[in-house]
């Protein structure tokens, strides 16, 4: 098969067609891992070096604004008005939400999605990679922003029962921003859209099916509709056990791809392939909680092979880690995963390599 570019590879597999090889990208690669593999390189140079098929400029890092509140404690105000403290791992911990009363909400001024500076990096990435690697416009979903920056998580969940109006108004504020932001990104040349934000915990979704459909789904559905109206696929990331709400994500919202088919929540790639793999691209699910962090390179190779075996038939698979390449991932394991994708993920898939010999009756 003719060699495809990264963007062609990703778009083809999302259409449930077999590309030349199973594609790969990640939501984030921690600098510690990148530096261990290619010391001192920029993120973009690292992507080129590893020949990764797509790049996602994570919104909180690449195009949100922050204002320092207390430099000594690394406390900042994010662009939504939430006060956030950053840790040694550079993770933001929401401390004080922006909105405490309906009065705060009435006078709330959202960030400006049209601010030119937001798109400076995207323009550079598009100039560098357009037509070669997929440029994936990213937004953190309305549910995440509303519960972390605007209302605070406890207040948000309680409001679902006690004050639904405030939840719906927060959704509207964030969604208006997202639709404008994503539209601008697509205008500039983004090839795909990805909305991230966890809707589920390890055992169950965070909210009931009814609450999920009423509060969480409408903002995502609007992002999907916008992307589709512009001819662009829309992908969704959510950790956790999504089985009880997978119909909302796939059939109601209409996402084109779902990440990470969370192995930590017991979601099996083969089961996902058989239940919804015909209408939604599966993205994942090499465990960054276990194998990539704690396993050997051989274990990573075997797990990657297993993912391809379970999810690769007929396309519709992007092999990724089960969350991000975080700081705890062993660099050599990430390299082993990429090598295994290239070894086992060539189409047409070589089932003699994918199925262990004892399954075929061969070998000693």
């Amino acid at each position: 098969m003719q060699k495809l570019t990264g963007v062609e590879r990703i778009l083809k597999t999302i259409k449930h067609q077999e590309p030349d090889v199973v594609p790969h990208f990640e939501l984030l690669h921690h600098k510690k891992v990148r530096d261990a593999i290619l010391p001192g390189a920029s993120y973009a140079d690292f992507i080129d070096y590893m020949d990764i098929d797509g790049f996602l400029p994570f919104d909180k890092v690449w195009n949100w604004s922050y204002e320092t509140v207390d430099a000594s404690k690394n406390i900042k105000r994010d662009q939504w008005g939430g006060i956030v403290q950053f840790t040694s791992e550079d993770l933001g911990h929401p401390i004080i939400p922006a909105i405490k009363t309906m009065k705060d909400l009435d006078s709330y001024v959202p960030p400006d999605p049209d601010a030119e500076w937001r798109y400076n990096d995207l323009r550079q990435l598009i100039k560098r990679w357009k037509g070669q690697r997929a440029i994936i416009a990213h937004v953190t979903d309305a549910f995440d922003i509303a519960k972390e920056s605007l209302l605070g998580d406890v207040a948000y969940f309680k409001a679902m029962i006690k004050n639904p109006e405030i939840v719906e108004r927060c959704n509207e504020i964030v969604t208006n921003y997202h639709l404008r932001f994503l539209s601008n990104c697509i205008d500039l040349g983004a090839d795909l859209v990805l909305v991230s934000g966890d809707w589920a915990m390890t055992k169950t979704p965070m909210a009931s099916h009814e609450q999920t459909k009423r509060f969480l789904a409408p903002p995502l559905k609007k992002c999907v509709e916008l992307a589709h109206s512009r001819g662009v696929p829309c992908l969704k990331h959510t950790d956790g056990n999504i089985w009880p709400i997978h119909d909302i994500l796939i059939d109601y919202c209409g996402v084109d791809g779902l990440h990470p088919i969370d192995p930590m929540a017991g979601i099996d790639m083969a089961e996902a392939k058989s239940v919804f793999g015909d209408r939604c691209c599966l993205m994942g699910n090499v465990s960054c909680a276990a194998t990539l962090s704690w396993g050997t390179t051989e274990e990573v190779r075997q797990e990657t092979r297993e993912v391809i075996k379970k999810g690769g038939k007929g396309g519709g698979l992007i092999v990724m880690s089960s969350n991000t390449i975080h700081s705890g991932v062993k660099p050599e394991n990430y390299v082993a995963m990429i090598e295994a994708i290239k070894e086992y993920g060539k189409y047409p898939l070589d089932w003699s390599k994918l199925v262990p010999t004892y399954w075929t009756g061969g070998g000693k």
């Binding site: 911990h93 679902m160 169950t204 009931s208």
Partner: protein, 210 residues
């Protein structure tokens, strides 16, 4: 005559207004605060935990019920203090270094308090030294570590080691919870207990001090 079942139902329904009114009425009728807590409120929060564990309740219901429970406990506290009723146990909890995700920890705190535990919440992103210092100064039965991220699991191990080095390991039971943690891993490292959710945290804590 006070119907404890109605107080229980108020908590289950997450109806603070009804629960508080019933608790106040019970106190006005000279019902001992201990009875209101043990026969009315605790059965309610236990049922809520069960419904959450069974996938019938979700975070919104859990938090609304927890609020009804804790609001009611606040009203009872002055009376409970007079009776010198000891808590079920003393629990120190915090999120390990590098980790800031705390809704899971906060729910555990809520459920423990609701079930009669005295809980000290140290917060998030805590160094092993911070845990050691608190254990040294306090009189805790159990220390609970929360680690939601794989990359912070080593911090949990370091905290356990630091407690050993400081000679504090035998002073307390140490339990752990968080999405990437498994019982097998917790056993292998040497934790005294593992909880996959808040309800289990209450259950194992009670078992550990019995």
């Amino acid at each position: 005559m006070v119907d404890f079942n109605k107080i229980t139902e108020g908590v289950i329904q997450g109806d603070s207004t009804v629960t508080l009114a019933l608790v106040r009425a019970a106190l006005d009728s000279s019902i001992p605060a201990k009875d209101i807590l043990e026969k009315g409120l605790i059965p309610g929060i236990k049922k809520v935990g069960d419904l959450f564990g069974a996938g019938e309740y979700f975070l919104p219901e859990l938090l609304v019920s927890g609020e009804a429970m804790l609001d009611a406990v606040k009203i009872l506290e002055p009376e409970l203090a007079k009776g010198d009723i000891p808590p079920k146990g003393k629990f120190l909890i915090g999120t390990v270094q590098g980790d800031v995700h705390d809704i899971g920890k906060n729910i555990v705190v809520m459920m423990l308090k609701g079930n009669g535990w005295k809980v000290t919440d140290l917060g998030v992103d805590l160094s092993p030294e911070a845990f050691c210092s608190a254990v040294k100064e306090g009189d805790y039965d159990i220390v609970g570590l929360s680690a939601l991220l794989t990359m912070t699991m080593p911090s949990a191990v370091q905290t356990l080691e630091a407690l050993k080095v400081a000679g504090l390991r035998d002073k307390v039971k140490v339990v752990i919870g968080g999405a990437p943690v498994t019982k097998e891993w917790a056993d292998e490292i040497g934790f005294d207990g593992f909880a996959s959710d808040a309800n289990e945290a209450v259950r194992i804590s009670e078992a550990l001090i019995t």
